[in-house]
Symmetry: C2
């Protein structure tokens, strides 16, 4: 395995032949992710900083530095983590594009957080200072190690893009502090919200510091033994303290916690060669994807605990599908893909990128979905500009939230999107995500440069020109998504059909390849055990989940029944389907809505054609009602 000395990637396992693409190895030139990454750089990063300045979340660090902590402190106990996630986003953006605005904002923030670090490396603005609760006095809810984990991830972005700087020094001292406080002979506690594990593991990799990996391992092993003080009305599964990681069969409880934990466990498993632990995470992924995952890739069925529900509990209306859980799912799948090369992980990453992560930000990058339901029954109230949204309801993108984890999480993910686009293994380049751009990748045999041109996901044609290639034969593998039955690859004169999975071909300089993915719209049926969408069908188009939005419908959304005997027809970035109106009378006044008479087919009246749009851009034309799964006309 060869690597450049400083790989610009968020995840770099110590073992294994496969590595992710460095952010500098793919220059996007246009299209879906290029545009979102640019909006992120031009709008979202500054937007997040403005809000955190306005609310005093950054100034919390100044107050600690000044010893002025006796008064009330704005923000939740975990607000420091938002500053760190923004720093991480700025680090990736600055490191990838060289954007001086990002660099300047980052350095200013680093100065301010650094000034708040205690002499022994502890860094938190909510605990341990005058007028505050003591350090680590509330491991269940305090989020101190969670915040530190995000600090370490931010530092990883810095090590991997510019090398060791002030941020890295701050993070090293914080990590050393954690190892002292929670290492052998010290506290045997764990944090209610996993994140420190993934942060320690990756910073350990980035700095070559085995103590950090070991501390991550210890946190993983300690978990699941019921040591966390319960939080009122929630049980231990909420923070995965019910079953040890290596014994668990499925993800459960708070989705982001479950997934950050799984990501950390995968890191530890890979670096320590712990096949049993890696198998456990892969097994949990299998079952959770089979039975606890939405069509969008969204995870988390319950609002109550922001959590996974039970197997088959996938209500479209109350789907929580937190944006952060989508990001965390990508984190886990990415680690499993690097460890195993299994294409299924990349399939889920694509599904989640297009239908959860891309759904969250508004076109202007200044407001965000927190929850991502698949059915909006009544139009959400508009957000008042400049106001913090207190609730994570569906249907409205808000500029900021009381608990505002998603915007900065999006920012760091969009800024580092390239990392997930391909892997390199010896003399093989595997393309996982399709976007127009130039790849310049160092293989064992030499440099491979590709120009990729595509309007994916709206069109299925992906043209690849081999601009530069080693003399020795190198392999190019193209991911054929699981939905792409009938895809073809032409790498010369003839086109051949390529099955879902991998389409591999040897390439030489001057080769021109064309992958044709069938992105025509298609009907997608839910498993019979998903009770909440029985009798319904969805429409997908390539990697995009489509939806019906009220602004495109002639009738109230609850009256629409789809004609599933006709194939949907492509139109624009969406599709057109034939629907009927089911004009149910209102129930009798004050009678319960249950009858002794079976509903009959004669309830169907007018027919119409309606447009379905990509789910990721719903609610961009004002507040609306929406559904992904449409009841089938009988």
């Amino acid at each position: 395995m060869k690597r450049t000395s400083r790989q610009r990637v968020p995840v770099e396992p110590r073992t294994g032949a496969r590595r992710g693409l460095g952010l500098d190895e793919l220059a996007l030139t246009g299209g879906f992710w290029h545009d979102r990454q640019r909006t992120n750089a031009d709008a979202t990063l500054a937007h997040c900083l403005e809000w955190m300045e306005r609310l005093g979340w950054v100034a919390n660090f100044d107050r600690v530095a000044a010893g002025d902590t006796a008064g009330p402190r704005p923000g939740w106990q975990f607000s420091d983590s938002e500053v760190y996630k923004l720093i991480e986003a700025l680090a990736w953006e600055s490191g990838r594009s060289g954007d001086p605005r990002a660099k300047e904002a980052l350095e200013s923030l680093v100065d301010r957080i650094g000034a708040a670090q205690d002499d022994d490396g502890y860094l938190n603005t909510c605990y341990g200072h005058t007028g505050q609760a003591g350090r680590y006095t509330d491991l269940s809810s305090g989020h101190e190690l969670y915040c530190t984990g995000h600090l370490l991830q931010a530092a990883v972005a810095r090590v991997r893009t510019v090398g060791e700087d002030k941020l890295v020094e701050i993070a090293r001292r914080a990590a050393d502090h954690v190892c002292r406080e929670f290492g052998p002979g010290a506290s045997d506690g764990i944090c209610g919200h996993p994140e420190i594990e993934v942060g320690l593991a990756e910073l350990g990799r980035a700095l070559g510091e085995p103590r950090y990996l070991e501390q991550a391992r210890v946190f993983i092993e300690r978990r699941g033994r019921g040591t966390l003080e319960p939080i009122a009305l929630l049980d231990a599964s909420y923070f995965q303290d019910d079953v040890p990681v290596r014994e668990a069969e499925v993800w459960r409880g708070h989705a982001v916690r479950a997934l950050y934990l799984a990501a950390g466990a995968a890191d530890v498993a890979v670096d320590t060669g712990d096949a049993g632990l890696l198998d456990a995470v892969a097994r949990q992924w299998d079952r959770s994807v089979e039975r606890r995952t939405y069509l969008t890739g969204g995870m988390g069925s319950r609002h109550q605990d922001e959590g996974f529900g039970e197997d088959w509990e996938l209500p479209p209306d109350r789907a929580y599908c937190e944006t952060c859980a989508g990001i965390a799912s990508v984190m886990v799948s990415w680690r499993l893909h690097l460890a195993t090369g299994d294409v299924r992980y990349a399939d889920l990453i694509e599904r989640t990128f297009y239908n959860v992560i891309a759904a969250s930000p508004a076109e202007d990058g200044r407001s965000f979905f927190y929850a991502n339901p698949l059915h909006q029954r009544s139009a959400a109230a508009d957000v008042r500009p400049g106001e913090v949204n207190p609730r994570a309801e569906g249907g409205v993108r808000a500029p900021w939230f009381d608990v505002s984890c998603c915007p900065t999480n999006l920012a760091r993910t969009l800024a580092s999107w390239q990392a997930y686009a391909a892997t390199v293994d010896g003399d093989t380049l595997s393309l996982l995500q399709y976007a127009s751009g130039r790849l310049k990748v160092h293989l064992d045999a030499g440099e491979l440069h590709l120009d990729v041109t595509t309007a994916y996901p709206h069109e299925g044609t992906v043209r690849i020109a081999v601009v530069e290639a080693p003399e020795a034969p190198v392999e190019l593998r193209l991911r054929v998504p699981s939905w792409a039955e009938g895809a073809t690859l032409s790498d010369g004169d003839a086109a051949r059909e390529v099955a879902p999975g991998w389409a591999a071909t040897a390439v030489r300089k001057g080769d021109e390849l064309t992958l044709e993915l069938p992105v025509r719209p298609r009907l997608t049926w839910p498993d019979e055990r998903i009770d909440a969408v029985r009798g319904c069908v969805a429409v997908e188009k390539g990697p995009l989940v489509l939806c019906a939005e009220s602004v495109d419908l002639p009738w109230p959304i609850e009256s629409v029944r789809i004609d599933a005997t006709e194939a949907p027809r492509a139109e624009g970035d969406g599709a057109v389907v034939r629907v009927f109106e089911r004009a149910d009378p209102l129930p009798s006044p004050g009678a319960v809505p249950y009858r002794s008479v079976a509903p009959d087919d004669e309830g169907l009246s007018a027919a119409s054609e309606v447009r379905l749009i990509p789910y990721h851009r719903w609610a961009q034309r004002g507040s609306s009602t929406m559904r992904v799964f449409l009841p089938v006309a009988r």
Copy 2:
């Protein structure tokens, strides 16, 4: 309108001709409610007292009395209310049956709570004393007025059964205190949890004190104007502070709060002759029953805020349907029935009594359902005996809860069940609920005594013998439930069909009547707009909702499909239906559970007959899975 000087009823409007049955006017002699009322008296009342002694919720009063409040206080801030609800239950039980155990327990509790009352009438063990937060410093969450409301309701039970005693004196002082603190020129606050309104209104009625009604009116009018400090992550609709009561169209937010508020508003509307306010409550009832009510009568679709969802949001699995919300729904429907005489309110009361309230207590009266879902996907973990249950999940009856509002609420409701069984209006007696027993009712024209003999709800025959009747003709009206198409009434030689609604007949001494209600099992179809049960059907039998429970099934519950072309057959207290097994393969490992292939009918294999049991007695044979709505075989 004639009344006895002390009507033994929980609700006695100041205006209107109709009155509820006094608890002393109906002696149950056997059957469904008789048995439950006896278990309540013999087991539940003592059980509640034991738990509250064990947990220190009663001793909280002793500590206030002793001035010993500096240390930690057990229980939530609203635990006083459980003591008051138990006192109310003891008062009704003692007043109805003369049970000396209930009287003794009551008097002891009253002594202890009385000792904790402050000189100015304030009575609360969580606020206002050494080491505690100040009085009324947290109206949103403090529940002080809520607790007081339950104290007043307990006192009403006492006034109406034995007259003014020490409890009534305590309550009067507490109510006077509330009027001083929240009346004209004083605080303009309201309580986050409605209940004081209904307590003040009824105590005002019981004591003839118009100031209490006026204060209730003021609280109702103040609400809905956004004056309550928001609770984190919840908006003002949670505690109905979003829209004034008389402007609201539907119930929303926390179900128990919404319903207690509606009950109080109905009381105020009736007693002040405020037709607009009464119309508003009736309108909210109409729409909420039409679109936000479960087949069981249960209300509250969401765990997150224990709240109503939106119109048509009625998931069977995550149905919260809190037992207390069922009780509160009866409270509202009862007030509306007294005010209007509309039979629909009595229909919903019956539905709720049999399928929510009766479901909660275990057969031994020592454990209780808190939530009452209509679908249990995986068997709940067993409750460890003697442990407080931290969570209100479905599927398990627990002896006590961390928030334990339901057991004492059940106790007071079961102890006063007779009150809802009939109404009296001049020379008309209207029978609303059917149970074996003797009615001795005073009509304008004289005494009417009936002997009722029935095995209802398991059989549909109700025999009524007129043992005593005035010389002048008096009318007997029998409620024919909305489901009872084809019912017959024979009041002499011939039987005549009686339509749902009222079957009225003049009665004289010596008459014998037989009402035949068709309690054969029947299929019941949900409105097409209830997405969560599309493609499913339920089975009801008389007033009972039936369910399939895993212990009666040959296959996992998710594989069962009902043959809806065959009528269900009666068997025991339930029914037998024909079902098929749908043996779906598991999805491919790690693939999302969505396919391009439509599910086909060939998935159906083995057929079988299975037994459905009344919903109210599910989970009595160990932990199980269950569903009310069964997917229909295609």
